[in-house]
């Protein structure tokens, strides 16, 4: 095993890089040790030991990533111990380090949360063994610097996450269905990646990323385009990009709380990582149509995801669709960046990429807080269906507040961090508008429109999630009896919630690192494009934002309004029952539900969402004027799943059924096959 710095100019710097390399190796080893501990130790000690070791590994990863982001010196590790013949090589640059830092941060929160989380099969031996492995691969994938290493880690990550989704398969049959969808989609994506990367490395004559990056400009255009399209398919399926997202709203909700947080806040980012690394880094940018395709897919994901999350009634499914939505926004930024680069606006390209990466970081922060607090709500009530939740803010004030902070952040309200990244994304696209290039003139206004519509739908979604889930009265027995969750779960979900506010007020803690990461991957020579001081903006775009001032102004405004309201309030508040036309029996079941909240929207977008209703009324035998029982069932299936993937799966099953008739057990038939094969071979060779 060798940990060598790439160029030793300074002895001190060199030794420091040895330290970071060793720290990266230690991170991986501690992660693997945690995995071994999970497999070997008895159940009583397992949760604590595994969590502590994984947190240690993540802290190591976070330290390495921060050091790389700070100094800009990449960490290189090459070893022949793993993966014989080709070796296992890691090279963590600033771009990768950004993703490692995000994954490590999310994983630390998830593991702290995990200390209090029980149930959902996460304490089993398999799950305890696989969880640290999954976290370790999340930390190492962005560092991989050769095709084989990357594919090896990528596959390991896919399989580990698949096993974690399956954790609760003994108790709920839906888990197995979700896992099959996930397995098929992720393996199909991995196959596309395998073909693409093998094609790339054969034509570039090397499988090391740096060598590919050097050669890629000389590759034939069809190779570059094929590789890019395959990569968009492969990475897009992992990122939950429409139309390859169908596994995501199934697998993320069925996974245990900390795992869904890890998948949604850290793993999907790696899909975006792959597209940027390959498109901007290894291939060094490409023609306009590549990026128009990425933008179109991003816009589709953003719209489709936000529409579905606005009409979902399952809390975690809603969050999963909103992940698709946010990945769409990131891809929109990435696509806009590529488009700017290909039409000769490098400054805008850098600004758009930085905005997209910033949104990735902030999405991880708020989605981590949302998924973890949703995990707490689920643990306390055992229910994910918003139509049966309600009134949880009073019963679980801490968890409820944390969820609410996440919801306000994702709705992009100042002074929280979601506002900053969406603002920068919007600015980057708006400032490309005066350009005369036709592709920009068409794509950017549409992108801005998508961003605006998505923002509105997201606000609607989280008004629903908070209003129906946390406010009002409890709609079912378990919710009425729910109590607060253990303190470690508060801390796990509380760290990202606190970061929502911190990064919202002081985004400059993150923006320089993000901009450096964007410069690294595009090998940009442009000066550091962010406006410093207390203002936020990216050079190349003119608008600036002062988040600190904004927060101060908001605090003053809120205090003023609250003070005036208190001063004007003449009599004491009196709370009475909701007005129900004076009817005697008024229960919490008559409250407004999430289904009713989303109904107008699902009616407006009926063609896209195609909701199905089933009303079954049975009459009394004596007279059909009297109803004996009425059942109403409504469901909102994914249109891509129903019209695309299900028919495809049915066709495959039919094809497989045909093939199964061929080997029918008859020895004569097999001998005939052998004879035919022999004849064919002879004919071909002759």
């Amino acid at each position: 095993m060798s940990a060598r710095p790439r160029n030793d100019h300074h002895c001190a710097a060199g030794s420091r890089r040895h330290v970071t390399s060793l720290l990266l190796i230690a991170t991986a080893l501690v992660g693997l040790a945690a995995s071994a501990v999970g497999a070997l130790v008895t159940q009583r000690l397992r949760i604590q030991l595994v969590s502590v070791l994984t947190i240690a590994a993540c802290s190591g990863g976070l330290a390495v990533a921060i050091e790389v982001l700070r100094s800009g010196r990449s960490v290189v590790v090459h070893t022949h111990l793993l993966l014989p013949l080709v070796g296992f090589s890691l090279d963590l640059d600033r771009f990768g380090a950004l993703f490692v830092a995000v994954s490590a941060g999310v994983a630390i929160c998830a593991m702290v949360f995990r200390l209090g989380y029980h149930g959902h099969g996460l304490s089993s031996r398999t799950a305890s063994c696989v969880l640290p492995l999954f976290v370790t691969t999340l930390l190492l994938v962005p560092a991989a610097s050769s095709v084989t290493t990357f594919l090896f880690l990528w596959e390991l990550m896919a399989i580990a996450s698949l096993l974690l989704v399956l954790a609760d398969h003994r108790h709920r049959s839906e888990v197995a269905v979700a896992a099959v969808w996930y397995a098929v989609m992720t393996q199909a994506g991995a196959a596309a990646l395998l073909v693409g990367l093998v094609l790339l490395s054969t034509h570039a004559g090397s499988q090391s990323f740096s060598a590919i990056a050097d050669h890629s400009a000389h590759l034939p255009a069809w190779v570059r385009s094929t590789v890019f399209v395959l990569a968009v398919i492969g990475f897009g399926s992992k990122a939950g990009m429409v139309p390859l997202h169908v596994w995501l709203p199934r697998a993320h909700p069925e996974a245990p709380g900390p795992v869904s947080a890890l998948m949604s806040a850290a793993m999907v980012n790696l899909g975006v990582y792959g597209i940027v690394r390959l498109g901007d880094g290894l291939l060094g940018g490409g023609p306009t149509w590549w990026w128009l395709m990425v933008m179109a897919l991003g816009a589709l994901s953003a719209l489709y995801g936000s529409l579905h999350s606005a009409t979902s009634t399952d809390l975690k499914r809603l969050l999963a669709y909103s992940t698709t939505d946010n990945v769409g926004l990131m891809l929109l930024g990435v696509g806009a960046s590529g488009l700017f680069a290909s039409t000769g606006h490098p400054a805008l390209a850098l600004a758009a990429l930085a905005a997209a990466l910033l949104h990735m970081v902030f999405h991880a922060v708020f989605k981590g807080s949302l998924f973890l607090s949703a995990g707490s709500l689920q643990q306390a009530t055992g229910i994910r269906d918003l139509d049966r939740l309600g009134g949880l803010l009073g019963r679980m004030p801490v968890t409820g507040t944390l969820f609410m902070v996440g919801a306000l952040t994702i709705a992009a309200l100042p002074p929280l961090c979601g506002f900053v990244s969406e603002w920068l994304l919007l600015q980057a696209m708006l400032h490309g508008l005066p350009s005369l290039d036709p592709s920009l003139a068409i794509a950017l206004p549409l992108g801005v429109g998508v961003l605006a519509l998505t923002g509105g739908l997201t606000a609607l979604t989280f008004v629903k999630a908070v209003g129906i889930g946390l406010l009002g009265r409890a709609r079912s027995e378990p919710v009425a009896l729910a109590g607060e969750v253990p303190r470690s779960m508060w801390i796990g979900a509380g760290i990202p919630a606190a970061l929502c506010l911190v990064f919202g007020v002081a985004p400059l803690l993150v923006i320089p690192a993000v901009v450096e990461a964007a410069r690294t991957v595009t090998a940009s020579r442009l000066p550091n494009p962010f406006v410093g001081g207390w203002q936020v903006g990216l050079s190349g775009i003119h608008g600036v934002l002062a988040p600190g001032l904004l927060a101060a102004a908001l605090t003053v405004a809120v205090t003023l309004v609250a003070g005036i309201r208190r001063a004007l309030q003449r009599s004491a508040l009196r709370s009475t029952e909701a007005w129900g036309c004076g009817r005697e029996l008024q229960t919490a079941r008559m409250e407004y539900t999430a289904t009713s909240f989303g109904e107008p929207l699902s009616r407006v977008f009926e063609d896209v969402l195609s909701p199905s209703h089933d009303l079954d009324i049975s009459h009394v035998a004596e007279s059909r004027y009297y109803v004996e029982a009425a059942t109403f069932h409504t469901s909102l299936e994914d249109a891509f799943e129903r019209h695309g993937f299900r028919p495809a799966a049915a066709a495959l099953a039919w094809w497989g059924g045909l093939a199964r008739r061929v080997p029918n057990g008859s020895v004569h038939r097999y001998l005939a096959f052998g004879l035919i094969a022999l004849v064919v071979v002879l004919v071909v060779l002759g």
Partner: protein, 167 residues
């Protein structure tokens, strides 16, 4: 029949001369004076039929007809008790309507007035002692103004309500 036998010109003449037809009664109770000051020419009411024979309803309907047109005094009927200054209750309070009446009153923001319209609302009238009757309106909720008559004629109702509206 009142309206149908009347010719349009008569109707218009009556409408124009109306304000003098309805005398403004003195506001004896201090609660009424206070309500008049508070409402300042706008009195929004929710009507609750607590078990009436619908005689009082006919008269209440006719005060909003073109003939009497109570709206010119700022008196209006509202659909939701959340938006009103008081309740207009008719009929003896039946057992089935006692709770809904209490709930409706609970839904009215304070300060508010309760007007019992008709003899049944005041003292159960001819229904007193019937098996389904809980009692008069005052037995169920506190009453501020009572309007007598079986049914009270529109002019009487308007007079009482004008006292509350302060017009």
């Amino acid at each position: 029949m009142y309206l149908s036998t009347m010719r349009l010109s008569t109707l218009i003449r009556r409408w124009r001369t109306h304000p003098t037809d309805i005398p403004l009664a003195g506001t004896a109770s201090p609660a009424v004076g206070e309500a008049a000051r508070r409402n300042r020419g706008s009195l929004q009411l929710r009507h609750v039929d607590a078990g009436s024979c619908n005689g009082c309803e006919l008269e209440i309907a006719s005060i909003f007809s073109p003939v009497f047109d109570a709206e010119r005094f700022g008196i209006r009927l509202e659909a939701s008790p959340r938006h009103v200054d008081g309740l207009l209750v008719t009929g003896p309070v039946t057992r089935n309507m006692a709770d809904p009446l209490r709930k409706t009153l609970d839904a009215v923001p304070r300060p508010r007035v309760v007007v019992a319209v008709g003899d049944c609302a005041r003292n159960c009238g001819v229904f007193a002692g019937a098996y389904g009757v809980e009692g008069s309106v005052a037995d169920v909720v506190p009453v501020d103004v009572e309007i007598s008559g079986c049914p009270p004629d529109p002019a009487t109702i308007i007079t009482a309500l004008r006292g509350l509206a302060g017009t």
